[in-house]
């Protein structure tokens, strides 16, 4: 599949737009690193994000920046056990009692966590 055929490219464009806005707010000329947190139930493939990021960041302050992605675990809260537990993407039932009406408490995140910016005053734009 070509990168242009996946939604990861749209999401990378959003990511670059958001990171560029943060850089502008801080008067930074370049973005060095972008840290993202994705859950297995976010619908996003980390590998496809890595492929799409260079395309989405071309000719932007994020060009050449490192994209780092952390994955969060799938977690569910069981109203019957009143406890949280780890679950898998295609089995969100309570691993303790088997109750199916659990509530997802983690694993669908799709977050821009932080941006590393080049400080304009110390180093001029390369």
């Amino acid at each position: 599949m070509e990168p242009s055929d996946v939604h990861e490219l749209s999401l990378c464009r959003s990511l670059v737009r958001q990171a560029t806005r943060v850089a502008a707010e801080h008067g930074a000329p370049r973005i060095r690193r972008v840290c993202v947190r994705i859950g297995p139930l976010s619908g996003v493939e980390a590998e496809l994000m890595h492929q799409a990021f260079p395309l989405a960041s071309r000719h932007t302050p994020a060009e050449g920046a490192r994209l780092e992605m952390a994955t969060s675990p799938v977690r569910v809260h069981c109203p019957r056990c009143r406890q949280e537990a780890n679950a898998s993407v295609n089995d969100l039932t309570c691993p303790r009692c088997g109750h199916w009406q659990t509530r997802l408490t983690g694993g669908d995140e799709l977050l821009l966590v932080s941006v590393d910016l080049a400080a304009p005053h110390l180093h001029p734009i390369p």
């Binding site: 840290c35 969060s72 295609n90 509530r103 799709l110 400080a119 180093h123």
Partner: protein, 269 residues
């Protein structure tokens, strides 16, 4: 550790502090913020007009357009309908809808694999929303990408055609978890398929902690009664919300999609 998502921000800060020319800015913002904002805007349009907006998703060829054709016939002119068609290249689906006397706006997505809220916004402005009861959005045939983009719809309906196999919810949990209704289509083929179990689909949905109903039908031979009743109940609900708006500051919550928490709070079934 970050209190919001548990990520290891202090490590990043530590790392950054070793480099003199770099500083880390914490953002903690959803990557879909832009689309979500556009979707919220669409939903405001739809709610003001008092119509029900249904997002249809499925694999290519699961029968979304055929279902719409059959639905238009079954509703028999009782409601004012319109369709927004998402298609990679062609106008074929929109033509089929217009042939049934229902207005259709085609969004040709080119190489894009999904509709987003901005595309739907443009298309919606080409329709007389105030003069509609139900607007169907036929998303691009794909069980992966469309699940990640809120369009401003009120309900998501995912079609699963019998030749695809009954285990699709477990293979595409993101899509099926986002579904408010699963419609098994092409049930007229069940006699020649020995490996599709309608009940298994409902079991798989429960494994995804989803209370979404599962219905089975054939757009070709029917019956469509349960589906039509579900649509009419959805429309009644939209109108009830429209004529009895919440006056509390939290009233905007009514404009958002039904939350899965509501289902989870219901007693065992």
């Amino acid at each position: 550790m970050c209190q919001t998502c548990g990520c290891a921000i202090p490590d990043h800060l530590q790392h950054a502090s070793n480099e003199h020319d770099v500083h880390t800015v914490e953002v903690l913002e959803g990557l879909k913020a832009h689309n979500d904002e556009a979707a919220r805007h669409n939903r405001e349009h739809f709610d003001r007009a008092g119509l029900l907006v249904v997002n249809l998703m499925s694999s290519p060829g699961a029968g979304k357009t055929r279902l719409l054709e059959a639905t238009i016939e079954a509703l028999g002119g009782r409601y004012r309908l319109a369709v927004i068609e998402g298609d990679l290249e062609t106008e074929n689906d929109a033509r089929r809808i217009r042939a049934k006397g229902v207005p259709a706006v085609q969004i040709t997505t080119g190489s894009a694999c999904h509709l987003d809220a901005t595309m739907v916004h443009r298309a919606a402005h080409a329709l007389p929303l105030d003069a509609l009861d139900i607007l169907f959005i036929e998303n691009v045939g794909n069980l992966v990408c469309p699940a990640s983009f809120d369009l401003g719809q009120h309900v998501n309906v995912t079609l699963l055609s019998t030749p695809e196999g009954d285990d699709k919810p477990l293979k595409y949990p993101v899509m099926f978890r986002a579904s408010d209704l699963v419609l098994i289509t092409k049930t007229d083929l069940l006699p020649v398929l020995d490996d599709f179990d309608v009940d298994a689909v409902a079991d798989h949905m429960r494994r995804l902690a989803s209370a979404a109903p599962v219905m089975a039908l054939s757009s070709k031979s029917g019956p469509l009664d349960a589906w039509i009743e579900w649509l009419e109940a959805g429309l009644t609900e939209r109108r009830r919300l429209r004529f009895h708006p919440a006056s509390s500051p939290g009233g905007h919550a009514l404009l958002s999609r039904p939350s899965r928490l509501d289902h989870a709070a219901s007693p065992d079934t």
